[in-house]
């Protein structure tokens, strides 16, 4: 277990704040019609991606969940979030060169793909794990998904394969209880995704997804197991999405508005608020530092918007050359 220094803790905190600020930026840009594609906010989910992705090495592999379209998983790893904004504005400075729509990719940092059709993440991650095992350099793969995603067959096929072959893959499930408009209590009889892992003899842990340190510690343990040849594990993070499934859509459960009380109750346990309170109590954060970090993140977001706006569109002449590798 790594001892987290003051600097480490501040890095986590700053990453959470930046993730939320950039999420807010994308939300506003979506409302203003400036994103040329859809957007699924990470509001409420920030601690999961940030906490888990903080654990991995630069040469590990990540398959990201669609919440925040890459923000929680990349900011904490030092990837510049302006490339997310630029991609969504369709600009050549985006992380996919402005041709992907919404897909997050970063070859240098092992983000080899992100969900379009949900479910592929599980099986592709098995492939990343297979490569990692063959490489013999102690790399691992983390596959992020939602609780809806595990209802696809690929989850079961992948976790079975990873378990049988002891592949170094960590499945991090962001369980917010919903899949688009549908509450999962009505589409699965299994309350905890962790129970599914057990069926495949994969160790699984349930953690509070609003508690970034709990996510960090659970991931640390799973990653260590994977790096040392112990095979896959699953971490189920109980979390919540504050906003509608994607921007501009109704926020319903089946066809009725989601409960305002439920949303408010989860917001009481907001992951940023909880962590901030803890860091203040532990004297890691001060009121001035909180203000400085927030201001810097705001300034960064303003600059990213301008950067993206000012960036050129891709040259369409490139497109035919993007189809086949030379």
């Amino acid at each position: 277990m790594k001892k987290l220094s003051k600097q480490d803790l501040l890095h986590l905190y700053r990453s959470l704040i930046r993730t939320r600020k950039f999420d807010q930026l994308n939300i506003r840009l979506a409302a203003e019609g400036k994103l040329l594609t859809f957007y699924h906010s990470a509001h409420g989910h920030e601690a999961v991606g940030t906490g888990a992705a903080a654990v991995v090495r630069d040469d590990d592999y990540l398959f990201i969940h669609h919440r925040g379209h890459g923000l929680p998983y990349s900011i904490v790893r030092g990837i510049d979030p302006k490339s997310c904004v630029a991609e969504h504005m369709g600009k050549s400075t985006g992380w996919g060169g402005g041709i992907t729509g919404f897909h997050a990719v970063d070859k240098e940092m092992g983000i080899l793909s992100s969900a379009g059709t949900i479910g592929s993440g599980f099986v592709l991650s098995a492939g990343y794990g297979l490569a990692a095992k063959k490489n013999g350099r102690g790399q691992i793969a983390i596959c992020f998904s939602g609780d809806g995603g595990v209802q696809r067959g690929q989850f079961h096929e992948a976790i079975n394969l990873c378990a049988a072959w002891k592949l170094p893959v960590v499945f991090v499930v962001e369980n917010n209880g919903m899949a688009w408009f549908t509450p999962n209590r009505d589409t699965t009889a299994v309350e905890n995704v962790a129970d599914l892992a057990k069926a495949y003899k994969v160790p699984a842990e349930i953690v509070d997804g609003m508690d970034i340190l709990a996510v960090y510690r659970a991931t640390e343990k799973a990653v260590e197991l994977a790096r040392n040849g112990g095979g896959p594990s699953l971490i189920e993070c109980k979390t919540f999405r504050y906003r509608s499934h994607s921007e501009g859509r109704p926020d319903v459960s089946h066809f009725e508005p989601r409960s305002k009380e439920e949303i408010a109750a989860w917001m009481e346990r907001d992951p940023i608020k909880l962590f901030e309170e803890k860091l203040v109590k532990d004297k890691v954060l001060t009121a001035t530092l909180i203000e400085t970090i927030a201001r810097e993140a705001d300034e960064e977001a303003v600059a990213a918007e301008k950067f993206s706006f000012d960036s050129p569109f891709p040259d369409p002449a490139r497109l035919p050359h993007m189809v086949y590798a030379p």
Binding site: G116, T117, F181, T188, H254, L319
Partner: protein, 321 residues
């Protein structure tokens, strides 16, 4: 008469068929609220036993559709995005398409696989396809591509009543369309093309949303080119006779389709024209389709999927200008 939006026309068709036949039900992800609205309002009328919000499991949804259809029901399966047919490929392409054959013609698979298709939202390679040619390439499946609200309603009713699996891909860009819909019931039989505009210089066979671009192009070319716009409305069965008749009259033809060019819808229609009307052609059959590339996202989508200026150009070229 009343005005209906495109999606409303679809949901009204499903509602009428559900009221008429209690074997009809809707199954799919999020169909009760319906992200693309085509099944919105049905749960309030028919309850959640007949409008079923299913797990995020395309294979289970499509497979259950096939199974229930073989056992006597008429499910309408909503795949959300038509692209997700790839996620349900085994059950749609191998099972739905071939069970009638495997059962020696004794057990049919009467169902509908619906999905919102095509470009317009800039969502990139996995949410912008119109997988028409792939469906055509799998005998046993029918394929409907409604280009306006009126057709969408009449064709959906026919699709539900058909004794075969029918893919019904409605187009994102048709969403804002509104049209007068008669109060009386009507059905548009599968396999009947419609001449959307009569003309004498060139035959334009267009599919799905491209019909609307072709009509706009024809309007802009008025006085210069007299275009005859044919919407096959269903690609399986294909009303080739209507197309051939028109080609015999105009001696020129261009096919405009939003699916990928290679081995595409246009290639098939072109070949059938060549086989049946070669001697009538004054120029090679031409086509305008999506480029042989994944559908690019955001601002680059328009360089992959045909847009109005290319449609105009294609019609002019086909007309020999």
């Amino acid at each position: 008469m009343k005005e209906l939006m495109y999606w409303n026309a679809i949901s009204e068709a499903i509602a009428e068929e559900m009221a008429r036949d209690d074997k009809v039900f809707v199954i799919g992800e999020n169909v009760q609220e319906s992200p693309f609205l085509a099944t919105k309002g049905l749960v309030q009328k028919f309850g959640s036993d007949r409008v079923m919000d299913a797990p995020l499991s395309e294979l289970a949804i499509a497979g259950a559709t096939v199974g229930a259809a073989m056992a006597g029901y008429r499910p309408v399966c909503d795949l959300t995005f038509a692209d997700f047919i790839y996620c349900a490929a085994d059950e749609v392409l191998m099972k739905a398409a071939q069970q009638y054959f495997i059962h020696n013609g004794e057990v049919g698979v009467p169902c509908v696989f619906m999905g919102v298709a095509g470009g317009g939202f800039g969502n990139g390679p996995e949410h912008s396809r119109i997988p028409a040619a792939m469906v055509m390439h799998n005998p046993g499946l029918k394929l409907v591509l409604p280009s306006n609200p009126y057709d969408a309603k009449g064709l959906m009713k026919a699709a539900i009543r058909d004794n075969n699996p029918v893919c019904f891909f409605f187009h994102k860009k048709c969403m804002p369309m509104k049209q007068e819909i008669p109060d009386e019931e009507y059905i548009i039989p599968l396999g009947k093309a419609e001449i959307k505009r009569a003309g004498t210089d060139v035959t334009v066979v267009a599919t799905s949303y491209m019909v609307n671009l072709a009509l706009e192009a024809a309007k802009q070319l008025e006085g210069k080119v007299s275009s005859e716009i044919i919407d096959p409305r269903t690609l399986v069965p294909l009303d080739i006779d209507t197309i051939i008749e028109s080609v015999k009259k105009t001696n020129r033809v261009v096919i405009i389709d939003e699916d990928t060019e290679c081995c595409g819808v246009a290639a098939e229609i072109a070949q059938q024209i060549i086989e049946r009307a070669f001697d009538y052609l004054d120029a090679p059959v031409s086509r305008l389709c999506a480029a042989n590339s994944p559908i690019a996202g955001a601002a680059m989508e328009k360089y992959v999927i045909p847009q109005l200026p290319q449609v105009i150009k294609a019609i002019e070229t086909a007309a020999g200008l």
